[in-house]
């Protein structure tokens, strides 16, 4: 027994030193370096004042500046989006924020891969790192960690976090750290510069050269239903949206209509509206290919000031359906016809 106690004691010593050393490496990342982690503090500090939440992955995070949304809708909003966020991650954040804010509306962004993405093929470790970095409640942190991060990735997750710590140390020592807390942006992640997308001459040439995964993952569907059920339980109105993608991407990629049908199915099942802004008739005018996008999947920072007003127009419209085409194929061909 004495042998065993000594062994346990020695393991604890090693664990203690390992934890201290790791904490020393990682500390600056959490203290100064990571925007997502600062976000957790900001949300905590500002809790109790939001009546609208945006729940999204990177597309929604880049498309909606809550300050513009507040101006457009006269609300007080916060963007909970996290790059590569899973439906389960969204559920955890929604649960946390619905408990401490008088929320009456949730904008639930559903991008083309929000339901088909899986850990192995899509969000993987990086999504988990953002998610865990943006979670400040230990119970939710553990909940996510145990449910979503497979043991085979634990070491990689630790490495990645340490690597971010080392990078932050370097920035810190070089005096390159930007202000960490962005109270005023309400979750929006600024800084994406526009870059021009390929023009119409590429549309026919690259038509459907890429293919989307269209089959929704069972787990994602489960947690999407959980999000919607949670909102219904709290009496919160939900609006589902898909943010604009570059027109070139809509031409070059096959499968958007299949994804649309899945999203519309969810919309009908729960009786919540779904607006896909890629079907909007004035998409090309509002979001010019030359200046509206950061990359094919994301709007740039300037567009994130415009999109909330577009959203507000749709939400306040008497006949929102009239503003949209009914399918992707129809939308891209009609818009091409309309091009000068």
């Amino acid at each position: 027994m004495r042998n065993f106690k000594k062994a346990v004691c020695s393991v604890l010593w090693v664990a203690l030193f390992f934890s201290l050393l790791t904490a020393a490496v990682v500390f600056p990342y959490y203290a100064w370096g990571t925007y997502p982690y600062q976000d957790a503090w900001v949300r905590k500090d500002l809790a109790g004042q939001f009546d609208l939440l945006v729940s999204s992955a990177s597309q929604g995070l880049r498309a909606i500046d809550p300050r513009a949304l507040d101006e457009a809708l006269g609300c007080s909003s916060y963007d909970l989006g996290t790059p590569l966020q899973t439906m389960y991650g969204r559920y955890l954040f929604l649960k946390e924020e619905l408990e401490r804010n008088p929320v009456d509306t949730v904008i639930l962004e559903l991008s083309y891969d929000a339901l088909s993405r899986s850990y192995s093929s899509g969000y993987g470790l990086e999504g988990s790192i953002y998610q865990l970095g943006r979670s400040d409640r230990l119970d939710l942190w553990l909940d996510y960690f145990c449910k979503q991060v497979p043991p085979s990735d634990w070491a990689q997750l630790l490495y990645d976090t340490m690597n971010r710590g080392v990078r932050t140390w370097r920035q810190l020592l070089a005096g390159e750290l930007a202000p960490s807390k962005h109270y005023e942006t309400h979750g929006f992640w600024p800084g994406l510069e526009p870059s021009p997308m390929p023009g119409p001459e590429s549309y026919q040439r690259d038509y459907h050269t890429e293919t989307l995964a269209t089959e929704p993952q069972e787990e994602n569907m489960y947690w999407l239903d959980a999000c919607l059920a949670l909102c219904r339980e709290k009496g919160v109105e939900v609006v589902m949206i898909a943010t604009p993608l570059s027109e070139y991407m809509l031409w070059s990629t096959d499968g958007f209509d299949a994804v649309l049908r899945v999203h519309q199915g969810v919309s009908e099942k729960w009786g919540v509206p779904f607006y896909d802004f890629n079907l909007k008739k004035d998409k090309l005018e509002r979001y010019p290919e030359a200046s509206a996008y950061f990359d094919q999947h994301h709007l740039c920072e300037a567009s994130a000031q415009d999109f909330p007003f577009d959203l507000a127009e749709v939400l306040t419209s008497d006949d929102p359906d009239a503003l949209f085409y009914s399918s992707y194929e129809e939308a891209i061909h009609e818009r091409l016809q309309a091009l000068p």
């Binding site: 042998n3 020695s10 090693v14 030193f17 390992f18 070491a155």
Partner: protein, 527 residues
């Protein structure tokens, strides 16, 4: 299951827990269960071949044991037998044992040859038939060799030969033979243990010991550090140089060769440290496979200090049987009268060495490059054996003091460079590519910049890590010359030891985890 994964760490913890929780008489059963599980995880079909080896060895050993016992019993009850009658009976029984042994050796080495050398043999046949315009055999089929087939075959056949020589008693329990064959810490890359050394330890009970736990755990961490933080970090650099040596400057190629020598040592000895450490936690001592090999003063000494157990196997089961065989002894006697005493002594040994190095080359890989590699190693050793009288004379004339530090340093440096030269030959691809790499090493010389030396994009932090780890390895090796480093480390205060291990663990995570996919597993697992 990857040895460097968290799954393996969990596997080891589960084994250690079960091993010390079950009744002591069942500890070996726990080892067998875990070994079987470990092996089955690598592919159930592979396990069948391993079981065939164990079963054939068990049956053959039992058969030989019965023959030996029957002979002893017969002699005991028939004391009236004359010397000639006894001799005739012995010969008859030896023939029976030899027949059984030969059958099982052919079976097992046959399986090994099919898996490892079928493609190579068909290639050679096709080449020969092509010279005469003959047909070509299809060589497009794929054969996935069972995990560790070279290692477990050699170890188990060693046991069988020992039974034949009556050095060990045949094991009566098949499952114990199965455990000896499949014991997972050694099945993939050795060490190749003798039955007499390992079996007793596997089957005898062990109590949990703090000393073993601490020393074994420390050794495992050190092994993970060598493998993950050093060998795997270097793997892409070495691969870049070996695959594209013609694009690099001489200094970059030489740095690549140096990195390779560090990588292969850290990789193989790292594995040994992990497995020997795990076994030490369980109270089992595996044979050591390394004894500071890069400090050797000759090629022969290097091979006594690198992959020691393989060398011992070849020495016991190939070198000695040939060196002391009747025909070889007669050849020595014949040479004594014609070529002089020194040559007469060297001739039988040289013949045995040729056989050993031919087999060593073939064992390492099915290619002419490996055969040539074995040949070059053997050539260096045989030539130094034959020229030893000349060296002695020259050293005497030059008044070289054998124990002088400068002379020893020269010998170590010379041997290291020779070892690097030989080691690299088969690793680049073909023999001509290996020689091409060495030609490139002496081209495009000039004042090198960082980019010239490390043109494959080695991050500066990784280079610092490599230099630090290599320096640490060198420092530990130098300390080992003074005494047992692990024992000294074990006497340090617990917080200091824990801190050192924690530093290693942090380095393993930071440098090793991103590099862990680079090596594509352990280098010696391919053999």
């Amino acid at each position: 299951m990857s040895i460097t994964s968290l799954a393996f760490v969990a596997f080891s913890i589960a084994l250690a827990a079960l091993y010390f929780l079950v009744p002591k008489r069942l500890q070996w059963v726990a080892l067998l269960l875990f070994s079987t599980a470990f092996y089955l995880l690598s592919g159930p079909r592979s396990w069948i071949y391993l079981a065939v080896t164990a079963l054939s060895a068990y049956a053959c050993a039992r058969r030989m044991g019965r023959v030996s016992q029957g002979q002893k019993a017969y002699f005991k009850t028939h004391k009236e037998l004359t010397r000639e009658e006894k001799s005739a009976l012995r010969q008859k029984n030896t023939r029976k044992k030899r027949l059984a042994l030969a059958a099982v050796l052919v079976l097992n080495f046959g399986i090994l040859c099919v898996f490892k050398y079928a493609h190579f043999a068909i290639d050679q046949l096709n080449y020969l038939m092509g010279l005469f315009g003959g047909f070509r055999l299809d060589n497009s089929f794929s054969l996935l060799a069972p995990l560790g087939i070279s290692f477990y075959t050699f170890q188990t056949m060693g046991y069988l030969i020992d039974v034949y020589w009556e050095k060990v008693e045949p094991e009566k329990n098949f499952f114990k033979v199965l455990l000896f064959t499949s014991f997972f810490p050694q099945v993939t890359q050795g060490p190749i243990n003798a039955y007499s050394q390992l079996a007793g330890q596997l089957f005898q009970p062990h109590s949990f010991s703090w000393e073993n736990f601490a020393a074994g755990g420390q050794r495992m961490v050190w092994g993970f550090f060598k493998k993950l933080a050093l060998a795997d970090t270097l793997a892409p650099c070495v691969a870049a140089v070996f695959e594209n040596y013609a694009q690099y400057t001489g200094p970059a190629v030489l740095v690549g060769v140096f990195f390779y020598s560090v990588q292969i040592y850290a990789d193989f000895s790292g594995y040994m440290d992990i497995m020997c450490g795990l076994c030490q936690v369980l109270g089992i001592r595996l044979e050591e496979n390394f004894l500071r090999p890069y400090f050797s003063k000759s090629i022969a000494e290097y091979w006594r200090r690198w992959h020691i157990t393989l060398g011992a196997w070849f020495k016991n089961y190939i070198y000695y049987p040939i060196a002391v065989s009747k025909w070889n002894t007669r050849l020595g006697k014949w040479a004594r009268g014609r070529l002089g005493k020194a040559f007469a002594q060297a001739l039988p040994a040289s013949i045995a060495l040729v056989a050993v190095w031919l087999v060593t080359g073939v064992w390492h890989g099915a290619s002419w490059a490996y055969i040539a590699w074995g040949g070059v190693n053997g050539l260096f050793i045989i030539v130094s054996l034959w020229l030893e009288p000349l060296y002695q004379w020259a050293r005497g004339k030059l008044r070289v003091r054998e124990e002088a530090f400068g002379w020893r340093l020269f010998q170590v440096a010379r041997t290291y460079l020779l070892v690097c030269f030989i080691k690299v030959l088969p690793e680049v691809g073909t023999l001509s590519q290996g020689l091409g790499l060495w030609r490139q090493a002496f081209r495009s010389w000039g004042p090198p910049t960082y980019g010239d030396l490390f043109p494959y994009g080695l991050a500066f932090s990784s280079l610092l890590m490599v230099l630090l780890a290599t320096g640490l390895l060198l420092f530990v090796s130098l300390l080992q010359r003074k005494g047992p480093v692990r024992a000294w480390f074990g006497k340090a205060p617990m917080p200091l030891r824990a801190f050192a291990l924690a530093v290693l663990l942090v380095l393993i995570v930071y440098f090793g985890v991103p590099a862990s996919g680079n090596g594509g597993g352990f280098m010696y697992a391919q053999f």
